[in-house]
Symmetry: none
Amino acid sequence: MSPPRKPISIPRRPGRPNQDAADLRQHLLDVALARFVSDGIGNTSLRSIAKAAGVTPALVSYYFGNRDLLVGAIFEERLMPVFAELLSMLAGKNPDDLVRGFVEGMHRLVEYHPWLPVLWVREILNDGGALRELLLTHIAPKLPQMLAARFAEAQRAGHLNADLDPRLLMVSLIGLTLFPLAARPIWSRVFNASDIDNQQLQKHTLALLERGLENTHAP
Amino acid sequence: MSPPRKPISIPRRPGRPNQDAADLRQHLLDVALARFVSDGIGNTSLRSIAKAAGVTPALVSYYFGNRDLLVGAIFEERLMPVFAELLSMLAGKNPDDLVRGFVEGMHRLVEYHPWLPVLWVREILNDGGALRELLLTHIAPKLPQMLAARFAEAQRAGHLNADLDPRLLMVSLIGLTLFPLAARPIWSRVFNASDIDNQQLQKHTLALLERGLENTHAP
Amino acid sequence: MSPPRKPISIPRRPGRPNQDAADLRQHLLDVALARFVSDGIGNTSLRSIAKAAGVTPALVSYYFGNRDLLVGAIFEERLMPVFAELLSMLAGKNPDDLVRGFVEGMHRLVEYHPWLPVLWVREILNDGGALRELLLTHIAPKLPQMLAARFAEAQRAGHLNADLDPRLLMVSLIGLTLFPLAARPIWSRVFNASDIDNQQLQKHTLALLERGLENTHAP
Amino acid sequence: MSPPRKPISIPRRPGRPNQDAADLRQHLLDVALARFVSDGIGNTSLRSIAKAAGVTPALVSYYFGNRDLLVGAIFEERLMPVFAELLSMLAGKNPDDLVRGFVEGMHRLVEYHPWLPVLWVREILNDGGALRELLLTHIAPKLPQMLAARFAEAQRAGHLNADLDPRLLMVSLIGLTLFPLAARPIWSRVFNASDIDNQQLQKHTLALLERGLENTHAP
DNA sequence: TATGAATGAGTCTTCATTCAT
DNA sequence: CATGAATGAAGACTCATTCAT
């Protein structure tokens, strides 16, 4: 891998903690990710990342080559691992637990990577999203296709509402997990709903998924 | 006539059809909306709008004053009317038809205003979204609060799954309508699903909402 | 004279009093003069004049042809007449009264045309001043040369301090009249001297001119 | 090394001598001052300064941040030192020499900083002058107030024409030094007076100040 | 390894001016 | 007589990037 890998520690600017080059690279990625999430990738200048990281803009270019390569690095070193995690979470699940496993897994994931929903919505979901193409060409197909296939299988076995489309179910699952998590700031404000935590959201989601709207508990 | 007049008469941009000012204004709004939808508001320069409209950047300033006012105009003249439509669609519905009405209404709406889902996701859902504040302060609260209130009422009357949160149900509904519609390009590609049309999506969504995942049709 | 001279009164915008074209021209000149004085000619846009006059920018161009011609009109129709006044004030003065006449005349002039000192200092005195060239080629030479000549004559007759230069005396006179009048805002603030009115200034100036610094009243 | 580097090496603007950054900063200040003096601060674009300095406009922003900061730098690094000089020149003077000291000091000052009178007149004296506020809040009050106080003292001691106002005397002194020096181009042309040098001007001024107009030398 | 200096392209906005109406 | 529409040029400023050091 490219430029700064030697572990020689040269504490240049005393403001930043004494870390070696690899750490600085990670620091830059952290800062960049934070800015990307809060401002959007397209709206974030390298300058602002550099400033937030206590570093010159030239350094950011130096470490990552150029803007696109930085975005690529964020994708590969921050986003991909998260999807890998999700994949491994769902690997062993048997079909009946799959939906519950997905919902719980996603919630657990977001607990550790709170930036995921927003980044997903803004940069992947959207037409010009900076990460969409990367996702679609690198990893995306695998996970959702695998899940959809297993839904289809369950459906054929009569374990799943026959009126559902297995592929669309995959979409619905994201619309019921990542989407509400990304949208929290807005519904929290609209409904004055700071009392609702993620656990309640998860419970609501599972209730909706498992039994739909009808009050089937009642006899 | 005294003041200095160059006698050469140059007909203005012959490329654009001879339309009056009001039309041009609408044309500019159309173009701006299109660019906003495809690139994001924050990433769209007035210059690019002007170019796409076959007009100088100065003219865009001339018509709308400045960038923020243009965004405001888009909001008021393009987005607000759509929400008004939705509101009137749902006005007369009785509680039992409400969810179905919402899903069908949203689909019908998007049929006529295909840009709605994307714009919603990018500019309202997201943290720094250019339209979020406008929506939240102008119209947003009313519609979702009204619907959530009616859900709560239905729930008290025993007509609605007791484990759902009425406010989160509102969120879920959007996650199952606007979200999949906005995400169509992506799932269509991932699943090679150009065969799935909006009608199927609507059917799937209603099936999921009404009975959940379980295969309750089977005895 | 150029464009709008017909006395047909068409009250277009009801905001502005019902005045005919000639009056509108005068109105525009008034407004332009006011803006020129307060912002400087170079810093004043036709737009701002038009706005202040309740008129479209196009109208200003229409009436005066272009920016330079407007400045020319200000010079000819506002500044020239003032110098003519001064000239006539000093015409009949006999040599001994000349200095006193100049000081008093200038003060009287400024009483009626308070904008004179500022305009003079900014637009004539300065190197790139918009009116300097106009003044130098149109009128300037006459008045100061005439006065300087009469000072020289008085000096030859032994009526004037022999160590003075008659031409520089002309300069000094302006430095002791127009200059302090233009500078009033600044010295008034520096010295907290809102108590000093023009009459006191005039008295001080004459005292300085007539006897210099020394306390010659004392026997 | 990895990041993409175009191998073509283009030596930067060979026109300007190879000077280090500090020198370039000074050069830019020099050029800016010259433009400010000849065109007025408000009428001088960064673009024109950059062009005159053989530099891109972006570089001017790079060095000074923005327009106001550039003006501030001119004030602090060019104007303030001059006033400090004047102050130190007058520090030790005893009251009787004060006026003469002021006139001579100002002439000496202008000899080394020929731009001072014009800048003073245009940017401090004038109402919207860009440097006025800076001067008034940073330094102005001290010097003139000190001088006026000493004039008042001399007057009380009977050493100064009793009909003068000490504060206005301060104003008159500027009107008889900075003003004629700033106006030289104009009176030099009006009177065809290229023969009058600063020494003669100084002599004239002192003669006027010390004895006024009357020919008191004659018995 | 890291940066300061520098640039060219691009941002939005304002300006004076023109001309058909 | 007066203006709305339109433009091209210029305004200040920011940006990503490069390169010598």
